[in-house]
C-alpha cells in the first residue's frame, strides 16, 4: 500500500491537505465536551477497567466551590487572555485541574493545602480570602510567590504551591485546541516528512550536518 492508499484506508484519502487537517480534528460539539472531561464511554480500544476508572473519577468531586473559584482566578492570572488566544478559564483549565488531582492523588494535599496557605496569607494581610481580595491585592500576593529566586524565605511554601499551579495551568491550557493553535503545533496530520525545510537549515547553518 502506498501513502495515498494508506490515507484512504483511514478515511482521509480523497481530501486536500487543508481538509486533511480538519478531518483529523473532532467536530465542535465533541470539542466542547472534550475541553472539559471526556467520558470515554464508547471509545474503541479502551479496556473495561479504563472506562470504569474514568467513570469513577468523573463521579467524584474533590475541590469545594470556594477552592474552584480560587483556582479559576489563579489560572487566569497565570494565563490571561491576550491578542492571540483566550484565558485559562476560557480553555476550561479549572475542570482539567479538578480531574487531574482525582486522577493523580499526589497533587491533592499540596493543592488543597496550598490554596488554604494562600487564603491564610490573604486573611492576615487583607482580612479577605484570595478570591475576595482586590485585583491589585491578588497580584501583589501572587508576585511574592511567583518568582522562586526573589521570594522571601517565609514564602517558600507558597512558591512550591505556585510552581505546581503554574505547571498544571500550562498543561491544562496548551493541551486544548485553543492552546495548541496558540503554540503553533502543526503536526498530528498526515504528511511526508522530507527533513527540516531548507530555509530553516540555512537559518541555523545546518545545511551540511
Amino acid at each position: 500500500m502506498n501513502r495515498r492508499e494508506s490515507l484512504k484506508a483511514i478515511g482521509l484519502g480523497t481530501l486536500s491537505t487543508t481538509l486533511l487537517l480538519d478531518a483529523c480534528k473532532p467536530g465542535d460539539k465533541k470539542l466542547a465536551e472534550q475541553t472539559g472531561v471526556e467520558t470515554g464511554a464508547a471509545e474503541a480500544g479502551r479496556m473495561p477497567e479504563e472506562i470504569e476508572r474514568n467513570k469513577k473519577l468523573n463521579a467524584e468531586k474533590f475541590f469545594t466551590a470556594h477552592e474552584m473559584a480560587t483556582i479559576t482566578v489563579l489560572g487566569d492570572i497565570i494565563i490571561p487572555k491576550d491578542a492571540r488566544s483566550g484565558s485559562a478559564s476560557d480553555a476550561k483549565v479549572p475542570d482539567f485541574i479538578e480531574f487531574i488531582v482525582k486522577d493523580m492523588p499526589r497533587h491533592q494535599v499540596p493543592m488543597r493545602g496550598g490554596l488554604r496557605w494562600l487564603d491564610l496569607q490573604c486573611l492576615n494581610r487583607y482580612n479577605k480570602t484570595f478570591v475576595d481580595a482586590s485585583q491589585s491585592q491578588q497580584i501583589q500576593m501572587v508576585t511574592e510567590i511567583a518568582y522562586p529566586k526573589k521570594a522571601k524565605p517565609e514564602m517558600q511554601q507558597g512558591v512550591a504551591f505556585f510552581n505546581r499551579m503554574r505547571d498544571l495551568t500550562a498543561t491544562g491550557f496548551f493541551t486544548t485546541k485553543m492552546g495548541i493553535e496558540d503554540v503553533g503545533y502543526l503536526g498530528n496530520a498526515p504528511n511526508k516528512w522530507t527533513g527540516v525545510p531548507p530555509e530553516i537549515l540555512k537559518q541555523y547553518g545546518m545545511e551540511n550536518v
Binding site: L7, P26, E50, D167, A170, G195, V196
Partner: protein
Amino acid sequence: MDELQIKKSSTVYDAVIVGSGAGGGMAGYVLAHAGLKVLMLEAGPFFDPAKDSMQMKWPWESARRGASTPQRNFGDFDGAFGGWNLDGEPYTTKDKTEFYWFRSRMLGGRTNHWGRISLRMGPDDFRGHHIDGLTDDWPISYDEVKPYYDRVDRLIGVYGTVENIESEPDGIFLPPPKPRLNELFIKKGAEKAGVRVLPGRGSVLTEALPGNKDRGACFFCGQCNRSCKIYGDFSSSSCLVIPAMKTGNLKVIANAMVREVLTDASGLATGVSYINKDDMQEYQVFAKQVILGASACESARLLLNSKSSKHPAGLANSSGVVGKYLHDSTGSSAGGWLPQLIDRKRYNEDGTGSIHIYSPWLKNNRKLDFPRGYHIEYGGGLEMPGYGFGGGIQDMNALLPGRKPEDGGGFGASLKNDYRRLYGTGFGMAGRGMAIARADNYCEIDPSVVDKYGIPVLRFHYKWSDAEIKQAKHMQDTFQEIMHNMGAVYGPPEGAETSYGLEAPGKIIHEVGTVRMGDDPKKSALNKWCQAHDCKNLFVVDAGPFVQQGDKNATWTILALSMRTAEYILDQRKKLNV
C-alpha cells in the same frame, strides 16, 4: 459459579503457542502459512491496531491529556495494556534486591507500544567470550542468524543505512527519515565529542513494503507507540498474527492465562492448561508441539510451575538454569534545551515514531574501566503538547534574552509568551547498554505466594555490578560533553548517589536470558534450535533463549530466532522427529 471443573478440548492441534508478541507471532505466522493447525493463547484482550489504536487523537481527547494510568504506564494513548504492576498478579523480590517486571497483556504483546528500534546483534554479541572472558558464547553465530535477519527485514520492513560496521551489521533497508532540527544540533555536538551518529534503524514503512498489499506506507504522525491503524509499522498483531489468522490455520483465544505445560508419562508435552479470564473456568488444550512465547520471565515461570515425576525441577530444567542469567539492558539518560531555538519557526516535525538518529557503540573497552558498551538513542523537536507541557518553566525562562537570573517563573501575558518562545527547544538522549548475564541474577518461584488465579508467582533476585554502574557513569560523562558541544542548557550529570542515573533492573523492558540455549544439556535449557533438551516437542521463542544480549534492543533477534525455530519444527516434522 458452577462447580469448578477442568474443561478438556477434544481437538489436538499441530501446535499451541503461548503468547502473541514478537516471538509467538512469528512462530504462528510461519507455522500457519505452512498449513499447520495452530492455537495461540494470549493472556490479554484481542487488539487490532486498525480499530483499537489511539492514533491521531488530540491531547484534549484524554481527560488527563495523555498522562499515564495504572492500565497504560506510558500514557493514555499508548498502545500497551499492562505495566509493572498488574492488579491481582503480584511478584516478589528477595534479599532486598530490585527488579521491575513489565507485563504486556494484549494481542501483539509489547510490540504494540515499543520504539520500533530494530538493531541486529553483531558477531561479538553472539560470541563475545574471547573479548574478556566475562560472557558465555551462544551456540550459534551471527552468520547462522544472518539469513533470518535478512528475511525478517524483507517480511516486516526496516529503515536504515548501509554503514559496513562489523559490530553493527547492516540490514536490507528502506530509506531512513531525515533528522529533525534538534537532532541536527545533537549530531553536530556528538560528532565533535567523537561520538559517531548514524541514521536510525526502525521498523517503520517509510516507503511501501515491496510485495505487501495489506500494510500502508507511513504518513509520519510520529505515534508508533500508539500502534498504527494502517499497519505502517511493525506490531506482531498487525504484521504477523492477523495475517496468520487469515490463512484459516491460526486460532487465537484471548484472555487465556496459561497455568502450566502438560506432559505425559514419557515426559513429552501434550498441551497446556489455562484459565479463561472471561468465565474464570479452567481449560486444557492439546497439541503435538508446545511453543512458549510468553516473555522471558513468564515462560520461565511456566516451565518452573510445570513439575511432574519426569520433570521434578520443572519442565526443561534438569540443568537447573531456568530463571537464571536474567539480564535487562542498562539505561541512563539526560536532556536539556537549546537557547538557539527560542522563537523557532513552526512546521510539522512529527516524523516517524522510531529513532531518526542514533549512535552505535564503537569504542574499545580495553581502554575503559567497564567491559562492554552501549548505544545512544536521541530525540527532540516540535512535539505534540501533552501532560507535563511547559513544566518547570521557572528554571528556563530566566535564561531568555534580557532576563536576569532571579526573573525565573512569573505569570501573566509575559509568561504566556515565554511558553511559546521556548516550545520546541527540548531534546533528550538515552543510553542502552549491555549488561553481563550472571547466574546470580535470576527469577524463581516464590514458595508462598500465588496470584489471583492461584498460579505461584515469580520472585526476583537482581543486582547491578560495577560493570553496569561504571558504564552508566561513562554514559553521563558522554552526555555532558555532547550537550556542552551543542550549546545547550542542561543540568549536572547524575552522580554516584543514583548510580549515575542507572535505571533499576527491568525498567528498560529488555529482560532476557531466563531459558538459555546451549550445546551442553547440563548448562542450558534449550538446544541451539530453542528446543528443550529434556522435552523434544517443547520450544521457547521469546527472549528467554538469549545467552547474552548485546547493547542492541532484543526484538529483531527474537523475530529472527523465532522464524528459525519455526522452520526447524517444520523440518523435524517432515523427518518425523517431533
